[in-house]
């Protein structure tokens, strides 16, 4: 993860697409799978900012050490910001 530290908008680092997938997985980014690439673009910056705000981190909009560290901590699979899993499921 060290290569990502302190990258910000405009950077192009191999592997950022994985972090975009992480952000997408937990509801911070909503883009089509085909548009997920290694560019640190504005959408990703917004996603990082939302992530930092939601998890009580320092809001920098960058992939700082605190943010990267948080992303490596095991967590619950429920999305943080999107609709819940299977809201239509009603028990009969």
């Amino acid at each position: 993860f060290g290569k990502f530290i302190d990258t910000s908008k405009g950077s192009h680092v191999s592997g950022i697409s994985d972090l975009k997938n992480y952000m997408q997985r937990f509801g911070y980014l909503q883009v089509s799978e085909t548009s997920i690439n290694d560019e640190f673009n504005e959408e990703f910056e917004v996603a990082i900012t939302r992530y930092q705000r939601k998890l009580g981190l320092t809001v920098t909009g960058k992939l700082d050490t605190e943010t990267i560290s948080q992303m490596t901590v095991p967590r619950c699979g429920v999305r943080d910001t999107a609709p819940p899993l299977n809201t239509h499921a009603i028990q009969h």
Binding site: V73, P74, C76, D80, P83, P84, L85, T87
Partner: protein
Amino acid sequence: YKYFKGKPRWSRAMPTTLTYAFSPNNIISSVNLSDIKVIFRRAFSRWSSVIPVNFTEAEDYGFSDIKIGFYNGDHDDGEPFDGVLGVLAHGFSPESGRLHLDAAETWAVDFEREKSAVAIDLESVAIHEIGHVLGLAHSSVKESVMYPSLKPREKKTDLKVDDIEGIQQLYGSNPNFNIEALAQSDTSSNRGV
């Protein structure tokens, strides 16, 4: 605290009792089933101490309100697990009742017995996922049990004011619950730290 979209909750009249059961086919062998049952009984009691909802274990998995199971990888609910660490578990919003744990984790009921560096405290995760099953979404309060992450070998089993206020907004308060006692306890803890 936060809720799922639409603020779903178990819609029956309070006080009520929800049943829970363990999937007979999706269980782990690394922890005794009896230990797992003790842990979940304690986890449910944390929530029932603050809201007018009781939980009781049912024998009939198919008819229980809350269905608990340990699963590997893709288990046909659209939310595959990812192996050791990463995603630990997920709970579905009311009134689905599904509570799934990643069977690949090193689940611990006692860190004295389980020495693995990647051991995950089962009770902490159970309490968190029961919160989802009852209708709480993820909180931004780091100390709360509804905060989304948990480090290996970390325990987080005490409901915080944020958790309690959130769940009581949905179900009301257990008449025997005293928020002032909890607030004093929190203050004492903070002073100690």
